[in-house]
């Protein structure tokens, strides 16, 4: 097991960062950790890389408890706030990072050139980081994380500053690393980003994990129902909530995730019985997006 997290909890004073997180990530897996702003994604990752200390619980990375220096040689990390010594040039920064990773001088030069090429910064490496755009700085951060050819790569929103092309490039890098058997832990609030690269995902809301499993497991057995409801008032809304089926709505468009076909007529009945006018009801192709949205809206309250 590459990452094994056991009831990790972090309180910032009396403010919850995350609570009772249990996760395991297998070798060669791309693990997506999804949640809204302030859900606690970065909190978890910061505990894993030793920036902050857990209030309680344990975790192991590559078989060693948190804080082990030897293990850090095999871990690459891209922080959410990718800020660097901007008075250095890109090349100097990577050279500095290489000495932090205690990489021997002989392999350094080649490796630096390799990662520069990978993140498409070749040609910019002799300019000061101060002159880089945000996206370029994030690419540089990714290059630094890739420098030691890590067995585990932890990325906290690696594409937050990148353009669509950059996002695709990062996606390709992740898939390539996966092919090489590396393990990747990816924090994101973009489902679309996670969906295409991740084997496993966990959803976190208000510091707690509300769902986890492989993408297929999460999709499986869930049918997405879309309804157009007239007279969609509080009564109907409450009745829908009371069914226990995860629902999510936007004006008169209502999305529900049912686990079973038999629940579809029941949904329709609930709407009609409470005075809603059901104009339209169709089942959608199983999209993780809707599951994500409904879980995010409903899942937290149930906990």
């Amino acid at each position: 097991m590459v990452i094994k997290i056991d009831r990790l909890t972090k309180w910032y004073g009396n403010k919850l960062g995350c609570q009772d997180i249990c996760l395991s990530v297998l070798p060669g897996e791309v693990f997506g950790f999804l949640g809204h702003n302030g859900a606690g994604k970065s909190t978890l990752v910061k505990m894993l890389v030793g920036l902050i200390f857990p209030t309680s619980g344990q975790a192991e990375i590559l078989g060693r408890p948190l804080g082990d220096t030897e293990v850090k040689k095999r871990v690459g990390f891209l922080p959410e706030t990718f800020r660097f010594q901007d008075w250095l040039t890109g090349y100097q920064l990577l050279n500095f990072q290489a000495s932090l990773y205690k990489m021997p001088g002989s392999t350094r030069r080649n490796r630096i050139e390799e990662v520069l090429k990978l993140v498409r910064l070749s040609g910019h490496e002799h300019y000061k980081i101060r002159t880089y755009s945000k996206g370029m700085q994030q690419r540089l951060g990714l290059a630094a994380a890739l420098l030691p050819d890590p067995d585990l790569l932890i990325l906290d929103e690696p594409t937050s500053a990148m353009d669509p092309l950059g996002r695709k490039e990062v996606r390709d890098i992740i898939l390539k690393l996966k092919d090489d058997g590396k393990t990747i832990f990816l924090n994101s609030h973009l489902l679309s980003e996670v969906e295409v690269v991740c084997d496993h995902v966990a959803l976190i809301k208000r510091g707690r994990i509300i769902a986890s499993g492989s993408i297929n497991e999460l999709k499986e057995g869930n049918i997405e129902v879309e309804m157009k409801i007239g007279n969609f008032n509080k009564v109907v809304q409450q009745a829908l909530k009371d069914t226990g089926i995860p629902v999510w709505w936007e004006k008169d468009r209502v999305l529900a995730t049912v686990g079973d076909r038999e629940q579809i007529p029941f949904l329709a009945e609930t709407v009609i019985r409470n005075g809603g006018s059901l104009y339209q009801l169709n089942t959608l192709d199983n999209s993780l997006e809707n599951l994500f949205l409904s879980l995010m809206q409903e899942g937290g309250e149930q906990n």
Binding site: T81, F82, Y101
Partner: protein, 280 residues
């Protein structure tokens, strides 16, 4: 650790302010040299050779102590300004996140920062010290005693402030730390003055205030010890007879030096312990 130290060193060299400070330091030395020059021409006009020699050595030693006092002040200011943000600044900007998550112990980070800044400040302080002494000797021929021990004491002052700033920097924000360390330094300075006055007018209470403040912040005591060694050696018996707030008539004991060294070590250890446990 060496990597961090090297980077800290290079960071200073990359800053414009570093070169501005160098230029201003040279300016300070030039002003001092000019002042000495005019004092020398003035005194040499006197007819009485014995009197002029006596007055000369009193004047020069006073001017030298004045220059050293302000050199200490400059070095202290530089140290505090350059070190208060060395850790907190990196935390505030976030650059630290891509550093201490690498295979590096937190104490290595702190000691690297310390070593880099200590080297930089020591070179600067030593150069300033030797320049002041050298200029004095060249222009006036005045020769203080115990120059090397004096230099060691002179270097202890930035080291102490550096350790304190670094410790505060791993605990507080840059701003809070800067204010705290600087206030402490001022307390030491005022306490030292008060003590000298207390000795001058034979007031025990004032002396005690001075001693107390030098325990809180020993920089001034170290300074007094340094000037006493420099100006009150066997060659300069006259100086004990005159009162000079920038000088010293009764130096702190050697115990004070030991206390200061323990103080510095304790502060560095505290910095490491604090930084080891803190969230970033």
């Amino acid at each position: 650790m060496i990597t961090i130290a090297e980077l800290a060193f290079r960071e200073v060299l990359s800053k414009k302010i570093f070169y501005i400070v160098l230029v201003l330091t040279v300016l300070f030395l030039v002003v001092y040299g000019i002042a000495l020059h005019f004092t020398v021409t003035d005194i040499s006009k006197w007819a009485d050779p014995v009197g002029s020699r006596l007055t000369g050595s009193v004047m020069y030693s006073q001017l030298l102590s004045l220059a050293l006092y302000f050199s200490t002040f400059i070095v202290a200011l530089m140290t505090v300004f350059s070190a208060v943000g060395s850790v907190s600044g990196e935390i505030e900007s976030g650059t630290i996140q891509a550093v201490i998550t690498r295979p590096l112990k937190r104490w290595e980070y702190i000691s690297g920062k310390l070593a880099g800044s200590a080297l930089m400040m020591s070179v600067y302080a030593a150069a300033l010290y030797l320049a002041v002494i050298g200029i004095t000797r060249y222009i006036t021929g005045y020769r203080p005693s115990d120059i090397l021990p004096g230099m060691v004491l002179f270097l202890i002052i930035p080291l102490l402030l550096l350790a304190l700033s670094l410790c505060g920097s791993s605990l507080m924000s840059t701003m809070a730390n800067g204010i705290t360390v600087f206030m402490l330094y001022i307390i030491g300075m005022v306490g030292g003055m008060v003590e000298q006055i207390g000795i001058g007018i034979n007031n025990g209470a004032l002396v005690n205030i001075g001693i107390l403040s030098s325990l809180v912040m020993p920089t001034d005591a170290i300074y007094r010890k340094m000037v006493f060694g420099l100006l009150t050696g066997p060659d300069n018996p006259i100086n004990t007879l005159t009162f000079n707030p920038f000088s010293s008539s009764s130096p702190p004991s050697d115990l004070m030096i030991i206390y200061t060294i323990i103080y510095v070590v304790a502060v560095i250890l505290a910095a490491v312990v604090i930084f080891n446990r803190r969230d970033i």
